[in-house]
Symmetry: C2
Subunit: 177 residues, 2 copies
């Protein structure tokens, strides 16, 4: 049994310091990609929602899309927490597709204002998507996608913290290209 | 967006008829194993918890363990919904391991009475585990595991319904052996 708890009053900066420490412990001794992404989704989802900062605007989806092995410009749904989701997203389409095609983190205060937004869950309002970029080849291997029911849930601290989360997952899992 | 809703008053027999119909629609046109198991976990978790039958004793974990490619007697965590879980379970250990080693569905009214039970989440009381058996080779490819916070949450109707769910996933996904 792997237990964790976070002080709900942590600032986001303090929270991500704790989260990344917990994630390192969670994936230590295990390199299977799907196993680690499944547990990482659960950790991120439940940890964020334990914070007071997310009490009135909960995270409703947290998980991964992975670049398809048979199509280098297609994302396919990977492990996640939340409601049933879109199975495929083309690079360039919506917020996930923008992160995949640019290789840059997308922080979207209100998805309804985002051109080409794909509504997988109508209760999502704000979103952050961090691309997973291979340090060896520079290829985008997938994205970490988090949706929230309120506007402007994510900012610079989330971007920095979740980019570190992706870095840990890049180092700790066996990714295939 | 893939929407679904179930009448909360359905009997379990009626519910599983609806659930399997919804699952067939959800996986149609998609054969990626991880994508389909991720969405199936979410469908099962949210659908069961929408029923009045599970109102006082909610499902707290629903997902998959897959037989490791590098060790034919080891289960590794796959896509799921719920709290962070054990990453590896040996065939023969606990309820998941019993399903994997016998190839038979395990319906456990109270996990605390089950010899060798592995507590991934202390709030789990009852559990059902359905093995995923290759029709070609007879090998166990993984298990579908569902935990509930109350005792005796699962019975014959769940066993029959969830064995059909596994059958659909065997037919609709590209499994590798």
């Amino acid at each position: 049994m792997f237990g964790f708890s976070f002080d709900p009053n942590l600032s986001k900066e303090e929270f991500y310091k704790e989260l990344t420490k917990t994630l390192r412990a969670l994936v230590s001794g295990q390199r299977d990609l799907i196993t680690n992404l499944a547990n990482a989704s659960s950790l991120i989802y439940h940890a964020l929602n334990s914070l007071n900062a997310f009490k009135t605007k909960p995270v409703n989806w947290a998980g991964f899309y992975l670049t398809a092995k048979d199509n280098a410009s297609l994302l396919r749904l990977g492990p996640f927490q939340g409601k049933v989701a879109c199975t495929e997203i083309k690079f360039g389409r919506g917020v996930c597709g923008a992160a995949a095609s640019t290789g840059k983190t997308q922080v979207v205060p209100n998805v309804h204002d985002f051109p080409g937004h794909i509504a997988c869950d109508s209760s999502s309002v704000s979103e952050i998507v961090v691309p997973i970029v291979s340090p060896a080849s520079g290829r985008v291997l997938g994205v970490l996608d988090i949706d929230d029911e309120g506007p402007e849930a994510f900012g610079e601290a989330d971007k920095a913290g979740l980019e570190t989360v992706v870095q840990i997952l890049l180092e700790s899992c066996d990714w295939t290209e």
